[in-house]
């Protein structure tokens, strides 16, 4: 069985402006998304996330490289039968009601006529839009439109769901409900690929992440592996030793916080920890705890963005598309 998403050396260049300047929106990006994964796609504005997603759903063709969705080219209709897609800031036919729009979506996705009504009613309830089901989309708020978008993406029970910034416009309750929907999809064996600026959401539900900066893939892997390899600091709690002794003993502490009868010493490297432990042994001090402080996804993301920005001589060689 093919991987739900296979991306191989994907590049996309746009020509723009009077002097026909070439913009590299994507530069040889490769990754796979496995069956039953929740895959987070991160990157600052203009990194190429939406361009990648547009290629995956067949809206744009790559300049070079290839992408496959459920083992098929995104250009082919067959590749889209098992796909649900929610675009960024979605716009729907505002002359339709939510129910009419979902019925249209179901028909286009080949949902059997006899099941359509029931599925639409159930999906409207899932996204909490039952009361607004027969109102025209023209009067919907951004959050309500986002719910309609999620409903149309899931209505035909797809095996793969691609969501571009799905949390945009949702309130905290909506975000929680949406996270539950995504986790439910994974529990039923579905694959979810989504981009988001809200790192907290990605950190809470994603199995793997890819970070894209200026059209290049700068990090890819399991979230726990990425963050575990990136220890930021060590928090060492000690007793029976004074702050002065630590300072004069040559410990390179980033911070020393006095407690009741303890001191919390924050150091940067393993070498600093060893130095501290040697001093403790020499001064008859006691080690209470040693906790490596793992970086958050935000720390990791920002460091990648900064390092790529510095390497490229400034951020944003790509462009928002």
């Amino acid at each position: 069985m093919p991987q739900p998403i296979q991306v191989d050396k994907l590049s996309k260049r746009y020509r723009s402006g009077f002097l026909i300047r070439e913009i590299h929106a994507l530069d040889s990006v490769s990754f796979d998304v496995g069956q039953g994964e929740i895959f987070g796609f991160l990157g600052p504005n203009g990194a190429g996330k939406t361009t990648t997603i547009k290629i995956l759903v067949g809206l744009t063709r790559p300049t070079s490289g290839s992408a496959k969705v459920m083992g098929k080219s995104p250009d082919l209709v067959a590749g889209k039968r098992e796909l649900g897609f929610l675009p960024e800031s979605p716009y729907f036919y505002d002359h339709l009601s939510a129910r009419e729009f979902l019925e249209l979506s179901g028909q286009l996705n080949g949902v059997p006529r006899r099941e359509l009504r029931e599925r639409v009613t159930r999906m409207l309830a899932t996204v909490n839009l039952t009361r607004a089901a027969d109102a025209r989309l023209r009067g919907f708020s951004r959050g309500m439109l986002q719910r309609v978008g999620i409903a149309q993406a899931l209505l035909h029970d797809p095996k793969l769901v691609i969501l571009d910034e799905p949390m945009g416009g949702l309130d905290p309750i909506g975000r929680k409900e949406f996270r539950d929907i995504i986790l439910g999809l994974r529990d039923s064996g579905r694959t979810v690929f989504f981009s988001s600026h809200i790192l907290q959401d990605i950190e809470m539900i994603c199995d793997r992440v890819a970070i894209l900066v200026a059209g290049r893939l700068v990090s890819l892997g399991r979230l726990d592996e990425i963050l575990a390899t990136e220890i930021d600091t060590f928090e060492v709690t000690v007793r029976n030793i004074s702050e002065d002794a630590l300072r004069t003993g040559g410990v390179k502490a980033q911070q020393i916080l006095p407690g009741d009868d303890k001191l919390l010493v924050v150091v940067r490297s393993e070498g600093d920890v060893e130095e501290l432990l040697r001093l403790l042994a020499a001064q008859d001090g006691k080690l209470v705890s040693l906790v490596p402080r793992v970086r958050t996804l935000e720390d990791f993301f920002m460091s990648k963005v900064r390092s790529q920005g510095a390497a490229a001589g400034g951020p944003g060689t790509g462009g928002a598309r």
Partner: protein, 253 residues
């Protein structure tokens, strides 16, 4: 089912659009206004009513075809509604054809309503409704099929305003196609002759769809010519929609 869903959605969008309703109301008013004309042109009432009725029906339906057709695909791109539709198992040719057939359904419905209204108006005015008039209405539908196809083609790659200008230009040139050919053969430079011949063969010959003269003056209609015109329309529409699909398939969004 997919194609029908697209057709139905386009039809529903146009029906709920105020532009269509406004044009229909104006068309009704203009036809009703023909009641005022007889007093100004005694003896020619019947001809004037028939002519005005058929011409106003043509004008308003052409306006709908050009104005609604010219933004049909473009608006989907501009409003980004196309993102959701093309990410579903919908082929691009299905999308173009669905939009086209949806608008044709609107036009056929509009023509049917206007014809019924016009027939009622004629009956009330004690003017007999001839079969030729219905034949002219049928040819109008095929003429609209050609114009709508051209408008849809333009809407796949230019703005609604440009599309309307180009389609109107083609409509007016096509309505004078025989004059264009005549103008090009009459002691003109070779280049002018070539251009006029090129335009004559490339642009739709819309004069063939107009038998209103025969209808108004009760002259027998050449049915073979009508049949050929219908075949011509079908071939022309197929060719234009094929080009529209090819253009649309190449587009990146």
């Amino acid at each position: 089912m997919r194609l029908w869903a697209l057709v139905r959605n386009t039809f529903r969008e146009a029906v709920r659009d105020k532009v269509l309703l406004t044009l229909l109301v104006i068309a009704f008013l203009v036809t009703a206004g023909a009641r005022l004309i007889p007093s100004l042109a005694a003896g020619e009432e019947v001809k004037i009513i028939k002519d005005l009725g058929l011409k106003s029906m043509t004008l308003f339906c052409v306006l709908i075809a050009v104005l609604v057709g010219g933004r049909l695909v473009y608006r989907e791109i501009e409003k980004r509604t196309i993102f959701v539709i093309l990410a579903k198992p919908v082929a691009r040719w299905q999308f173009v054809l669905g939009k086209y057939l949806g608008l044709m359904l609107v036009l056929v419905t509009s023509v049917a309503i206007m014809t019924a209204w016009f027939a009622l108006f004629m009956t009330l005015s004690r003017i007999p409704v001839q079969p030729q008039m219905l034949l002219q209405v049928l040819l109008l539908v095929f003429e609209l099929a050609v114009i709508t196809a051209i408008a849809v083609l333009f809407s796949t790659f230019v703005t609604p305003i440009s599309s309307a200008v180009f389609t109107f230009a083609i409509y007016f040139t096509g309505s004078l196609s025989r004059s264009l050919l005549y103008w090009g053969t009459k002691d003109r430079p070779v280049l002018v002759q070539a251009v006029s011949r090129f335009c004559y063969y490339l642009l739709p010959n819309l004069q063939n769809f107009d038998i209103s003269g025969s209808v108004v003056h009760n002259v027998p209609v050449n049915y073979a010519q009508v049949g050929l015109t219908v075949v011509y329309a079908l071939v022309y529409v197929s060719a234009v929609l094929l080009i529209a699909t090819l253009v649309f398939r190449r587009r990146n969004f």
